[in-house]
Subunit: 221 residues, 2 copies
DNA sequence: CTACTTTTTACGGAAATCCGTAATGGTTTA
DNA sequence: TAAACCATTACGGATTTCCGTAAAAAGTAG
């Protein structure tokens, strides 16, 4: 079993539960970080001191406070860690259950497990730790569908980005101009209209307002 | 101090933290309910058996599963309990920090405390238990502003309702027609435009889409 | 290279929004 | 009662979105 584990989680009560779980698994060295930046620094220090962490368990969302952070979310943290230290296992433990997000974490950032905080969260987390220790990936049942590559595809990041810009108050014309400055293609007003129209159909939205509301409810933006 | 307490919370790890806290406070009888309905029934049974709970600590959001519930949220539960058994103290313990919601819970449902789950959540929860035991109300610093009746007023339910209809995909014209069928006044297209314009200014929104996005983020709809 | 498909872009008209101005009607105040 | 005030409604024009059609550009297969 792992011997040195870092838990990145800002709620002290949740951490308490995770801590006892890890202790029960026989893990001796368990560190906590309440901020993503702290987690990053601890891991970095571990590597430099030749006493590396073997596993990182991290939440996704952290409450903001006065301290400005380099890493605002567990997503950023997981991405950075997996890029710099791919040998360190990463388990994401979050209430979030949006498939889109899980997909990104697994496929693009290559995290090793995704566990949903829920009634059976701690049990699943135990399973995840075991699986990851055996070099397997683990997904909570709620999000297992994320990796079956059939459903709700053909919505790409560009589409999502369009809706995000809309939700920030830009007009379609402004989005077009913005994309041109960024040299992102397609960028014509017409194309933007067409993509948004496709999304409206797909999400059964009456208009752009409705579309933004739906996509926000789905947690895609 | 209280002797018999019920904790309504569906995440087992969070409950673990709360449990140890209550134990440290010297509370002997601590029950947990993972569903709002269970919590309600336990409290009811306690009253019937002349062994009533003195305090209920409840979360707001519960994960859905196969069991259909009479009470879908901690809000419903708190409301019902305070209505039927006003002598039972109620502390809401949630990540939610929307002032509007806190205001409703305190002013309309008369819960005794509202504690935000956060880094210092357990510490604050301890304070809340003490305060409530002394017949005081307690609010986390994050939401203390909820009861200061000065800010962000002059936004009434009608305004919110307009934005809600917008987010459901209705055009301003359709909203006007809808209000007429409901004999709700004002209902002219012009009035609706004017109200929405006022809201756009107030929330610094560029357009209706932006407004809906902002109001959704604030949790007002 | 050619034929075919898909994507991007362009254009035009109808509908909806945005925004200022102004008339109407009801209530308050002097 | 008259004046002042405020909310509601009406209206007109500029801008934006919506939606269909179609041309240009890019990608694919034979």
């Amino acid at each position: 079993m792992f011997t040195k584990v870092l838990v990145s989680e800002d709620m002290d009560d949740i951490h308490k539960g995770v801590y006892t779980l890890l202790t029960d698994l026989g893990i001796s060295e368990i560190q906590q970080a309440q901020y993503c930046d702290d987690a990053y620094l601890k891991i970095k220090k571990g590597e430099l001191d030749a006493a590396p962490y073997e596993l990182l368990i991290t939440d996704l969302s952290f409450k903001q406070d006065h301290r400005t952070q380099k890493f605002e979310s567990g997503e950023d943290l997981a991405k950075a860690i997996k890029k710099e230290y791919p040998h360190i296992k990463v388990i994401v433990y979050s209430v979030e259950d949006r498939l889109q997000r899980v997909r990104t974490l697994i496929n693009d950032y290559h995290v090793d497990a995704y566990v949903c905080k829920s009634r059976r969260g701690l049990t699943e987390l135990t399973n995840a730790v075991h699986a990851v220790f055996n070099n397997e990936t683990y997904l909570s049942p709620e999000v297992i569908a994320a990796l079956s590559p059939k459903n709700e595809l053909e919505i790409d990041n560009f589409d999502i980005e369009l809706v995000r810009q809309l939700s920030k108050g830009l007009s379609q014309d402004e989005i077009s101009k913005y994309l041109k400055t960024q040299h992102i293609s397609p960028n014509s007003l017409s194309s933007i209209e067409k993509r948004l129209n496709k999304l409206r159909v797909q999400f059964k939205a009456n208009n752009a307002i409705h579309l933004v509301a739906i996509v926000k409810d789905l947690g895609l933006i």
